[in-house]
């Protein structure tokens, strides 16, 4: 269980042509304990950069990120990251991939084994524990990647378009499964996506990010219970509003 606090965060980097690019500017964000927050924006708006800074993989140019009131400077195993690509280790079986975080933290073999079994079952991969990643489908690979993060029992899970590379049906199914896991284990989730459709199905709160420079344009609170009906009038209205917000940037430039 953990909360995320971000104060006045900016990120500037030097582009290959020598000019400075403002990737993010003046980001203030608070994610409460157990909250499911989606960051929605078009590609290139800086949402992935923001997530990578929260993960400690990149340093902000100004401002700070606090997780559980602790300043983030480098990656922390208790802040889980699920990437867009499954990033499984091809030479390790599914089981040994899921076990990886625990192994790196030198957890005793017995408790490692128990946790691995639990999370393999949770994502429905207990029958594929001894398969190598290249033998799995895209959805199964991403499930294994999620189990690998869950096995570490992180307080915060950061997800960077985790279902972006999957086909539509698998994607919908994965969203449902993720909500089920989240409702059982109730962890703080920050989920980056470019799909408004995905965000309205998942989030308690949606933050719309627009580029040049990347900033939080507006915020939506969704109180409807889950699982949500994809075609309910409420969701359609949210979807239309958010899509309109995403497009404001296009009109102003």
């Amino acid at each position: 269980m953990a909360e995320i606090l971000i104060h006045n965060l900016s990120k500037t980097y030097r582009a290959s042509n020598g000019g400075l690019v403002n990737a993010l500017e003046g980001i203030d964000l608070e994610v409460k304990d157990g909250e499911f927050v989606c960051l929605v924006g078009k590609s290139g708006c800086g949402k992935t950069t923001l997530l990578r800074i929260i993960a400690g993989l990149e340093q902000p140019s100004a401002g700070e990120v606090l997780i559980d009131k602790k300043l983030v400077g480098s990656p922390d195993p208790l802040v889980g990251v699920v990437f867009q690509e499954d990033r499984l280790f091809p030479w390790r079986t599914v089981r040994r991939n899921v076990e990886l975080g625990l192994e790196l933290r030198k957890i005793a073999r017995n408790s490692r084994k128990k946790a691995t079994e639990t999370y393999l079952r949770l994502v429905g991969l207990e029958g594929f524990a001894d398969a190598l990643p290249h033998e799995l489908s895209g959805g199964m690979k991403q499930r294994a990647a999620i189990a690998r993060v869950l096995a570490n029992e992180p307080g915060v899970i950061l997800m960077d378009e985790p279902f972006g590379a999957l086909d539509a049906q698998t994607r919908n199914q994965m969203q449902e499964e993720l909500l089920e896991i989240w409702s059982k284990h109730f962890r703080t989730v920050l989920f980056v996506t470019h799909s408004v459709d995905e965000a309205v199905m998942l989030a308690d709160r949606i933050l719309v990010i627009t580029p040049h420079p990347g900033h939080i344009q507006c915020e939506y609170r969704l109180t409807m219970p889950r699982p949500r009906e994809r075609l309910s009038p409420e969701l359609i209205e949210f979807r239309q509003n958010i899509l309109a917000d995403l497009n404001t940037d296009v009109h102003s430039t």
Partner: protein, 282 residues
């Protein structure tokens, strides 16, 4: 464009061709027939060539074939049989090769992890890489004796491909996997032992295979040095001096076939050990 498409098509056929087993006895039989027909074709061309260019220095396939069996069953002038010579050479190559792995893989890993070490030693290592193994012969004759002469020549031929493929394997490590290690809390040491080295293993294996191939090809040069008895290389040299070209050609064919077999063993092992690696092996 057409060329690219053609190349891609060929690669794809390679992948599937290597992964699919013959579906029935018929496909197997036809594969054997095609193989035998290809060999027969080469032999006929060779025979035709000896008829056109009539020279005592160009042996016919039949001459080579009888010499091959004479050497295999009765042995050469010193009484050593062809299998014995081949075994002697193979052991020499394997000794040099083993030493090349022991040195090449750690050095390759070090160069891959620390670009600074590589850059600092480059002025020395790179020129040595381009000295042909044959050029070491006089020094080897002066400073080494016995079997260690062969070991050194094979070693110097095999070690560089092993160093450089290992190095590039460590260097091209997918940054994505490295990041996974970092977010899961890996220490520097763990990043190397649990990620960089296992990820580079298929490259090390390929490097070893290339090194073995070059080491094997150095065997004639190595056996010019003298110091021990026998070996396919010295067989070629001895019979070359006697102008018995049929024996020379028979030994050449044995060297080529054994090298091919060694390479195939490695390729098969690579496919079994690293089934996720999809690159073309040669």
């Amino acid at each position: 464009m057409a060329r690219v498409a053609q190349l891609q098509g060929r690669q794809e056929r390679n992948f599937t061709g290597l992964n699919t087993k013959p579906k029935g006895i018929l496909t197997f039989v036809s594969a054997v027939i095609v193989f035998l027909a290809k060999i027969l074709g080469v032999i006929l061309l060779w025979q035709g060539f000896t008829l056109i260019v009539h020279s005592i220095f160009i042996p016919t396939p039949i001459q080579v074939w009888t010499t091959f069996w004479r050497l295999t069953l009765k042995g050469d002038v010193q009484g050593y049989t062809l299998p014995f010579e081949a075994w002697t050479s193979l052991m020499r190559v394997l000794r040099g090769f083993a030493l090349a792995i022991i040195v090449g893989i750690p050095v390759g890993i070090l160069f891959g992890l620390s670009n600074r070490t590589y850059q600092w030693t480059k002025f020395l290592v790179e020129p040595i890489r381009f000295i042909p193994p044959l050029a070491w012969v006089p020094l080897v004759i002066i400073f080494l004796h016995g079997e260690s002469r062969y070991t050194f020549i094979i070693w110097i031929g095999a070690v560089f491909p092993i160093i450089y493929t290992t190095m590039s394997g460590v260097k091209v490590l997918d940054n994505n996997l490295w990041e996974v290690g970092r977010v899961l809390g890996a220490s520097k040491w763990q990043l190397v032992t649990k990620i960089a080295i296992p990820a580079a293993l298929p490259h090390m294996f390929s490097g070893a295979r290339l090194g073995l191939g070059i080491g094997w090809a150095c065997i004639v040069a190595a056996e010019m040095v003298g110091g021990g008895n026998g070996g396919l290389g010295s067989l070629i040299l001895n019979y070359g001096q006697l102008l018995q070209i049929d024996a020379v050609v028979a030994s050449m064919i044995v060297i080529g076939m054994l090298g091919y077999a060694l390479n195939e063993i490695f390729v098969i092992a690579e496919k079994k050990l690293f089934p996720w690696q999809k690159d073309v092996k040669f």
